[in-house]
């Protein structure tokens, strides 16, 4: 028997060779033919089969198939599909350059497959917004805004009138990971949240994942908003811009070396301060006040060879507000902003293994200074991150799509630093406190095609968070009095947390036009946003986890049914979700900012849990003369803290029972596009007084249960029309006229209670007043491109 074994072995191998066919890999990039921009999420597939791949964030795809002759097609929404016939008998590189589809006048008849990514993808709750769609939405004060568009999708709610902070499935604004070219953005809002910091002209791709995120993302519980900047046209110079009533913007891009290297610079500034000055009365005490914001995006990239490419990008933006009350007795300046910079290196090890390594710097800073007579005061708050991450994507076969990588961040938080002076004396407000921590994540994720119908997306993320010194810990007794302190040296380990986050989701095809998806994920979040008020303000502070603040933890279950009609013309879906949140953070009731002085800010927090669940229904028509979507969300979000509301469960401020969004764009012809948006949302929750009493001649309110009262519902209609002038030589322009809140509804922004009268005359009356922010607001913007 011994002698026969080698023969049997050889025999088995040779039989295997007879039956196994060779597999080869097709790989390459999908790009825009006119500008050279990589297309993210483009489909590269074998015609008349389910085999295919999608391009990653750098436009790269890899598809492994058995030997044979194939028609390979590359498609991307808004572009004409390109098909190449190949005889696959070795590994080959195929790059696709797609052309933008010309604007159609009549309904497009079915020619080529529409994207059915919503059915095929294993990612639940993912939503991609083509930047071109954002640009034709009705503009708010002349600016189209990415956040405003995102808030129109089911499950995403705005936090109130004019605000661009958003809540995803009942989670707080700090639970959304906002990335700009991979750098974390801590405060993505201009003007107290009325606009986002993203200039639509510089942005290429917007991808939103609601919870259930795959293992390559982490650090936040509710969502990931991954925004990619354009690389810059590497074939021709291009200028885009817009001039509006409130603000203007300009983008310049072009090749540094044709097809090899390019740059893009984008700038935007409001001049509301200059415009308002003539309208503010000379006698008004506020005549020397003003507000403006600006932002700047810049990027440069260089293709070193067909295996390597580097990118250097940066963002810098600032909001500046100055209030100068005329008598000189009161002066105030508030400024805040982000600065980010990213250096990335794409490297292709082989046609199956792609790597991106990034070095990042992110800084968010908020400063408030005020002077009143002899009294000077300043408050600063901010976060600085130094980060290094590596992401690999490995495509061993058409059945597996593996991602793995690491992410290391060094955080420096300065949650609140105060200085104050009265007369010549500097008040003792404690030392400037900085909090240092390490944050490391390692992940591996695989998308596995188990059968032709069942695809699994499964992964694990291991995360580690460590607070290190230098640090002074103040110890409190049960009555919150400081009794002792401990000093930690530089680099000394104060507290370490490590966790494993499993992520799993699966997609099952019922037939070629419908599927069912299910997902189960664990997430940990190590940094938190603490709010002083119910309204989102730049005075909200970012704090890291510590020995007192445990990491936030969320478990999400979701289930969805997806069906497309008329050959993917209409996409519909219904998704239900249930989330459990632990270690949620709030300031303790009655805490005022001074209590953080000569103390650790985390000694003023209290912790609790939350729950949120709901159903999201969505119908979308992506292409054609008339396109748009309708979304409806029915949801509940509650919180429970032992030290708030007497330990009773209460509705979170993000609780919104009904949320409806209706968006329609109508392309009349090559010159005219009309768009309509209608939104409806249940009113915001707030705490109101239930009785009152007198102390020292003044009225004191006794408050009821937290968030037990609802403001009136919010609904609004926006209309927009864009007229495209005839294209001359290389110059294109259009003029957009928008009306925000077209039927002039007085939506509640906040409610306050006004007491009039005089107790000395034994007469008092209280009225409830509702303040609305925006009546009907028309705006005009002229946009150009050459």
């Amino acid at each position: 028997m011994k002698k026969l074994t080698p023969f049997i072995f050889l025999f088995v191998i040779s039989i295997q060779n007879l039956f196994s066919q060779n597999k080869y890999t097709i790989s390459g990039y999908v790009r825009d033919a006119a500008t050279g921009e990589n297309l993210i999420g483009a489909n590269v597939y074998v015609k008349n089969s389910t085999k295919g791949a999608t391009t990653n964030h750098y436009g790269f795809y890899s598809l492994t198939l058995t030997e044979g002759i194939y028609n390979i097609a590359a498609s991307f929404i808004g572009y004409t599909e390109e098909i190449k016939q190949i005889n696959l008998n070795k590994n080959i590189i195929i790059n696709f350059s797609l052309n933008e589809k010309p604007i159609t006048v009549k309904e497009v008849t079915v020619t080529g497959e529409k994207s059915d990514a919503n059915i095929k993808s294993t990612e639940v709750g993912k939503f991609e917004i083509p930047i071109e769609k954002v640009k034709i939405m009705p503009a708010f004060m002349g600016e189209v805004d990415i956040f405003k568009t995102i808030q129109l999708t089911p499950g995403i709610q705005s936090s109130g009138e004019g605000n661009s902070v958003f809540y995803v499935r009942g989670g707080g604004p700090d639970q959304n990971l906002i990335l700009l070219d991979e750098a974390v953005v801590y405060n993505a809002s201009h003007l107290f949240g009325f606009f986002s910091i993203f200039n639509a002209d510089a942005i290429k791709n917007i991808e939103l994942t609601k919870g259930s995120m795959p293992a390559n993302y982490g650090g936040r519980l509710a969502s990931v908003l991954d925004i990619s900047m354009k690389e810059g046209n590497n074939k021709n110079y291009q200028v885009d811009g817009g001039i509006g009533l409130i603000s203007s913007r300009l983008t310049i891009q072009g090749p540094i070396k044709k097809d090899t290297s390019s740059f893009i610079i984008s700038a935007r500034r409001t001049y509301a301060d200059i415009i308002m000055k003539p309208f503010v009365k000379k006698t008004s005490p506020f005549k020397n006040s003003g507000y403006y914001f600006y932002d700047l995006n810049a990027k440069v990239n260089y293709i070193i060879n067909d295996k390597d490419r580097i990118y250097l990008s940066g963002y810098f933006g600032r909001d500046i507000f100055g209030l100068n009350v005329d008598s000189g007795s009161f002066k105030n300046n508030i400024s805040w902003g982000n600065a980010t910079s990213t250096l990335r290196w794409n490297h292709l090890f082989n046609n199956k293994l792609f790597m991106n390594t990034t070095l990042l710097y992110s800084d968010y800073n908020f400063t408030f200074t005020a002077t009143q007579q002899q009294y000077d005061f300043s408050l600063t708050s901010g976060v600085t991150d130094y980060e290094c991450k590596s992401d690999f994507s490995y495509h061993p076969s058409s059945l597996h799509n593996i991602k793995f990588g690491s992410d290391y961040i060094y955080h420096i938080f300065a949650p609140n630093s105060f200085t104050a002076k009265t007369g010549d004396v500097n008040l003792d407000l404690g030392e400037k406190i900085k909090l240092y921590s390490h944050n490391l994540a390692l992940y591996i994720n695989d998308e596995i095609e188990l059968t032709s119908r069942l695809k699994l997306n499964t992964g694990i993320r291991y995360t580690l968070f460590q607070q290190i010194g230098p640090f002074k810990r103040f110890i409190q007794d049960a009555a919150y009095n400081i009794i002792d302190s401990i000093i930690y040296k530089k680099g000394e380990n104060i507290k370490t947390y490590s966790n494993i986050e499993p992520r799993i989701s699966a997609r099952f095809f019922i037939d070629t036009s419908s599927s069912v998806k299910i997902a189960y994920t664990h997430n940990y979040q190590y940094i938190h946003l603490a709010s002083i008020s119910n309204v989102n303000l730049p005075t909200d502070i970012w704090v890291p986890s510590s020995s007192v603040i445990k990491p936030q933890f969320g478990i999400q279950y979701s289930l969805g049914y997806y069906k497309n009609f008329y050959n993917n013309y209409y996409e519909t879906s219904i998704e239900i979700y249930y989330k459990q949140l632990k270690n949620q953070i709030e300031f303790r009731e009655g805490v005022t900012p001074e209590q953080s002085i000569h103390n650790n800010i985390d000694n003023n927090f209290t912790f609790g849990k939350g729950e949120s669940y709901g159903v999201e229904i969505f119908i979308q028509k992506k292409e054609g003369k008339i396109n748009g979507w309708i979304g409806y969300t029915l949801s509940w979000t509650t919180r429970q803290f032992s030290e708030i509301n007497n330990g009773k469960k209460f509705y979170a401020k993000y609780d919104r029972r009904h949320d409806i969004s209706y968006v329609t764009n109508f392309q009349l012809n090559k010159q005219w596009i009309f768009s309509i948006i209608w939104v409806y949302a249940t009113g915001n929750a707030m705490t109101i007084p239930i009785s009152r009493y007198f102390i020292e001649g003044n009225i004191i309110n006794e408050y009821g249960e937290k968030n037990a009262y609802r403001m009136k519902p919010y609904h609004r209609l926006d209309l927009g029309v864009t007229y495209y002038f005839k294209k001359k030589k290389n110059f294109e322009s259009n003029i957009n006229f928008s009306v925000y809140n077209a039927y002039n509804r007085y939506n509640p922004y906040y409610i306050y209670f006004e007491t009039k009268g005089n107790i000395n005359e034994y007469y008092l009356e209280t009225k409830a007043k509702q303040v609305s922010l925006f009546p009907m607001l028309p705006s005009i913007t002229w946009n150009f491109k050459f």
């Binding site: 104050a420 007198f694 009225i699 209280t766 007043k769």
Partner: protein, 294 residues
């Protein structure tokens, strides 16, 4: 020292409606009948008898006129004061310097520095209790009148004060213009915690307070609002208080100044009344200075 609180909040409350075109309208809010609670406003100062004002809470939107006021203040109650050794029942009297004008006043026990005083109130089947102490009083280093830059008659009072570094102190400041104010009125931002200036010598402005913030027209028409007038004689009272007493006035002032401000979360009033009541029973260590403004 909620000056910087006021700076942050004042800014936010003013700018949002000013910069944007905001519209306001009256709405109706339906509220259930609230649970009725007894409200105590009581104090005792060294060298003086105790004073207690008793009222009840009212529904939020009800109109308050003389009829509802009578219901709010006219009810039977027994108020007892004890210093740990002897006790007395306070006597109900009428005094139009206060609102409401019905007060309970002591006649036997006078406040003494360092002692603890216990209050018991029995009314309509409910019993409330509270206790407080009188800390030793302190003095200003100096006080003088500081004329405003752009005025020839109005200004503030410039106070110099040194805090004792070896103790934890809380302060409250009142002022009264002779022949113009009926009683001592707390200044604007009247409560201070020495955590910010422990052991330091500092100077600051005193801004005159107003007797009731419900009188909005009165405040708007008062050309001297927050200021003192050249030529007036003003009595400044500097008080020390214990922590519980300070916590009450700090949270009350926060509510009075920012209660109607939607950008600020309401904070619960820290009352030291036990038994389901609201309000305060507090001791003051008082020091008086009289200043002729010139």
């Amino acid at each position: 020292m909620d000056n910087y609180n006021s700076l942050i909040i004042k800014t936010l409350f003013i700018i949002i409606p000013i910069i944007f075109l905001s519209c306001e309208k009256e709405i109706t809010v339906d509220l259930p009948e609230p649970e009725q609670r007894l409200v105590v406003e009581g104090w005792i100062e060294q060298g003086d008898y105790a004073t207690v004002i008793l009222t009840k809470n009212m529904p939020y939107f009800g109109k308050t006129d003389s009829t509802t006021l009578v219901q709010m203040i006219n009810f039977p109650a027994t108020v007892t004061l004890s210093n740990g050794e002897i006790s007395e029942t306070l006597i109900k009297t009428l005094n139009f310097d206060y609102f409401p004008p019905i007060i309970y006043r002591g006649t036997i026990i006078k406040g003494e520095i360092g002692k603890t005083y216990y209050l018991t109130i029995n009314s309509e089947g409910k019993q409330l209790t509270a206790s407080t102490t009188i800390p030793p009083p302190v003095k200003f280093d100096s006080l003088r009148f500081l004329l405003d830059k752009n005025s020839d008659s109005l200004g503030t009072i410039w106070a110099k004060f040194t805090d004792n570094p070896s103790e934890k102190n809380y302060y409250r400041i009142f002022s009264k213009r002779l022949n113009r104010d009926k009683k001592m009125i707390p200044i604007l931002g009247s409560v201070y915690d020495d955590i910010f200036f422990n052991g330091l010598s500092l100077s600051f402005n005193i801004y005159r307070g107003y007797d009731t913030f419900t009188d909005i027209d009165g405040i708007n028409n008062d050309k001297e609002f927050s200021k003192y007038r050249l030529g007036d004689t003003v009595v400044i009272k500097l008080c020390t208080l214990d922590k519980e007493h300070f916590d009450f006035w700090y949270t009350v002032e926060y509510e009075v100044y920012y209660g109607e401000n939607p950008f600020v979360n309401p904070i619960p009033i820290k009352s030291n009344i036990k038994g389901g009541g609201l309000g305060i029973w507090g001791g003051y260590g008082a020091n008086y200075d009289t200043l002729i403004l010139k």
